[in-house]
């Protein structure tokens, strides 16, 4: 019996060791103006949105579902917050709450159609992927919206105890969701439903409500990620915010050991997975690989990890082992 998250830790460790040895400047850390600077800090600073996405996505995938709309929800929530702060002149808390409310609405829309409408999650969330960004484009009339609101920017690049604020946001959210998963009945229900929805329904679980809540949580996490991303660059860029991040989020969750077939939620694993992806992204950037090209590598990693979770890989591994023994 191996420790939980053995393989994710090994993968992350191997990537770190590789970088420490072969990527110059990877381990450099310095303290300036009461804040730590360096690649390692950047990984957590830039990786915060994916980590937030991964937390929410874990719940949906544990139910055997999927949410492809998270990237668009990021764009939408960033746009709503920026519009309220600039054009409407609303205070920061109102903007933040409205943006998260918008995300919650999208999540409810997804959840209702999946749970009560009985439509496949891919179709519903694919529609939302396209509609969400379309809505954001309509709201902002295809313009980037810049803002100068220090209180809001703190969400993206503030410093607490020398560390970036988003890190604390991730920790708080993960703790909250983690406690819900491990210490309340809701977590048990979630995994029960993911492994066998029919059995869960026959046991009297309110499967529709659970599914709805999971989708809403996932969207709110995405909304939060959108705020962090927008605050970090001081603008809402509807064309690029969260673009392609749904793959990163799914990849993070799958890397962390949550199976796509559902039934298992491994939150810590997802966070390790998200860190792994951001480290990979940062490493590729430091080595001069263009962002668009990293898509190829990420897609290949995603497929291989998915493959390792399938029964056919297990069969292959077993045959390999027995051949070695013979």
């Amino acid at each position: 019996m191996r420790a939980r998250n053995f393989w994710p830790w090994v993968a992350l460790g191997a990537l770190f060791v590789f970088n420490l040895l072969f990527t110059p400047g990877f381990a450099r850390l310095e303290l300036r103006d009461g804040r730590l600077f360096g690649t390692l800090v950047d990984i957590f600073q830039n990786g915060a949105p994916v980590m937030l996405l991964a937390v929410g996505m874990t719940l949906v995938i544990a139910l055997g579902g999927i949410d492809l709309s998270v990237g668009s929800v990021m764009a939408l929530s960033g746009a709503v917050a920026a519009l309220l702060m600039t054009e409407q002149g609303q205070p920061v808390p109102v903007a933040v709450l409205a943006a998260l409310g918008m995300a919650l609405g999208v999540g409810a829309f997804n959840g209702v159609l999946v749970a009560y409408g009985g439509i496949q999650p891919i179709i519903v969330t694919l529609v939302m992927l396209v509609m969400g960004r379309g809505l954001a484009q309509t709201l902002t009339q295809d313009q980037k919206i810049r803002f100068e609101v220090p209180a809001f920017e703190f969400i993206g690049n503030g410093t607490v105890l020398g560390l970036p604020f988003p890190l604390f946001l991730v920790a708080a959210l993960a703790l909250l969701v983690g406690l819900m998963l491990r210490k309340t009945a809701a977590g048990l229900y979630l995994e029960a439903m993911g492994s066998n929805p029919r059995a869960a329904r026959l046991c009297g679980l309110r499967v529709h409500v659970i599914r709805l809540v999971a989708h809403m949580t996932c969207s709110v996490c995405a909304g939060l990620a959108g705020l962090v991303a927008a605050a970090d660059i001081k603008e809402a860029d509807v064309a690029n915010a969260g673009l392609y991040l749904e793959l990163d989020a799914i990849l993070a969750v799958v890397l962390g050991g949550t199976s796509l077939t559902g039934g298992r939620a491994n939150l810590v694993g997802s966070l390790i997975g998200a860190t792994f992806i951001q480290t990979l992204t940062t490493m590729l950037q430091m080595r001069g690989v263009i962002t668009e090209h990293t898509l190829i590598i990420k897609a290949a990693v995603a497929l291989s990890v998915c493959f390792m979770q399938t029964p056919s890989f297990e069969r292959l591994a077993r045959r390999f082992r027995s051949a070695e023994a013979a």
Partner: protein
């Protein structure tokens, strides 16, 4: 009577289309004319060609999210081969078709061999292919090559070449789906994989072939796009997967697989084109954002409608 019952979804779709067209013709001046209709055919030709491939995938019970990326990739590849390497037009298109078909077949093979869900494989495929497209050329590329242009402006009677290609794909697609053993295998696979296997049908071959067909159609769509826009474009294929799925579903093909037709998809393409043209150009809501929202809304409406109808008929139980 039997004919009517067998083709009820296509006939209903055609009827709705005629009604919508009539409403549009009454509301907007000059809508009811041959040139306008021909414009519909050529404006939606790229989507239509891609959607024919998607029909086969959905009929087989799968889904292909990579079509937009494959289409962009193939248009960019054609652009690069023509402009940077001065290939012959036909050779460039053939190369793009080979690449697209190979990519599709590879995805099909991965789906079959590993048992990973189609949407995950094709989602990863979408990102992979998009990355590949950026690898061969980082920006969209304009195409101005005499022989390419000659094809692009060619006409067959009153029809532009893209419209002819579209109609050709629909006819060939219909023929393959209805009158060949392969078509029947696709329907059987969509009806139930286990049953198809027990019947002794070549499930593996069919599954791989279905994604290869989709890749072929998507890359052909890319070629048509290069004629239509005179460029190889990275952006044009973004969201194309949703448009293609939408047209297939609007055309009456069940997302669960096993039920539907290529002719339905043809009507779906025309219907989507009609509705979008009406709201964007005629009702004056000309914005790409609104268009996306409208397509999404339409798809959802039709999926829900399908759900209600099939539940009543007792087929295609919810999975």
């Amino acid at each position: 009577m039997n004919f009517v019952r067998k083709h009820i979804t296509v006939l209903a779709g055609a009827l709705v289309y005629v009604l919508l067209y009539a409403v549009a013709a009454i509301r907007y001046d000059g809508f009811f004319s041959l040139p306008v209709f021909i414009n519909f055919l050529s404006n939606n030709a790229v989507l239509g060609i891609v959607a024919v491939g998607m029909t086969f995938v959905i009929l087989s019970g799968g889904i292909d999210l990579s079509v937009g990326a494959v289409m962009s990739f193939s248009s960019v590849l054609i652009g690069v081969l023509l402009m940077d390497h001065h290939w012959n037009v036909y050779a460039a298109i053939a190369a793009a078709l080979v690449c697209g078909t190979t990519l599709g077949a590879a995805m099909g093979a991965i789906i079959h061999a590993t048992g990973i869900k189609p949407f995950i494989v094709t989602l990863a495929g979408m990102f992979f292919v998009r990355g590949l497209a950026f690898l061969i050329h980082l920006e969209s590329i304009g195409i101005s090559e005499p022989r390419h242009t000659a094809i692009a402006i060619a006409r067959v009677g009153p029809l532009p070449v893209t419209a002819v290609l579209f109609l050709g794909f629909v006819l060939v697609g219909w023929y393959v789906a209805v009158l060949t053993p392969f078509g029947r295998e696709v329907y059987a696979l969509g009806g139930g994989e286990e049953a198809a296997l027990l019947m002794g049908l070549p499930v593996r071959r069919t599954k791989i072939a279905v994604y290869a067909v989709s890749g072929f159609c998507a890359s052909f769509g890319g070629a048509a796009l290069s004629f239509y826009l005179s460029s190889g474009s990275h952006l044009e294929g973004v969201g194309m997967e949703l448009d293609a799925i939408a047209t297939v579903v609007i055309g009456g093909t069940l997302l669960a697989g096993g039920v539907g037709s290529v002719l339905g998809t043809f009507i779906g393409v025309l219907m989507l084109g009609l509705i979008l043209t009406s709201i964007t150009t005629y009702e004056g809501m000309m914005s790409s954002g609104m268009t996306r929202v409208a397509i999404g809304g339409l798809l959802l409406a039709f999926v829900l409608l399908q759900k209600v109808l099939t539940r009543r008929a007792g087929v295609g139980r919810a999975t």
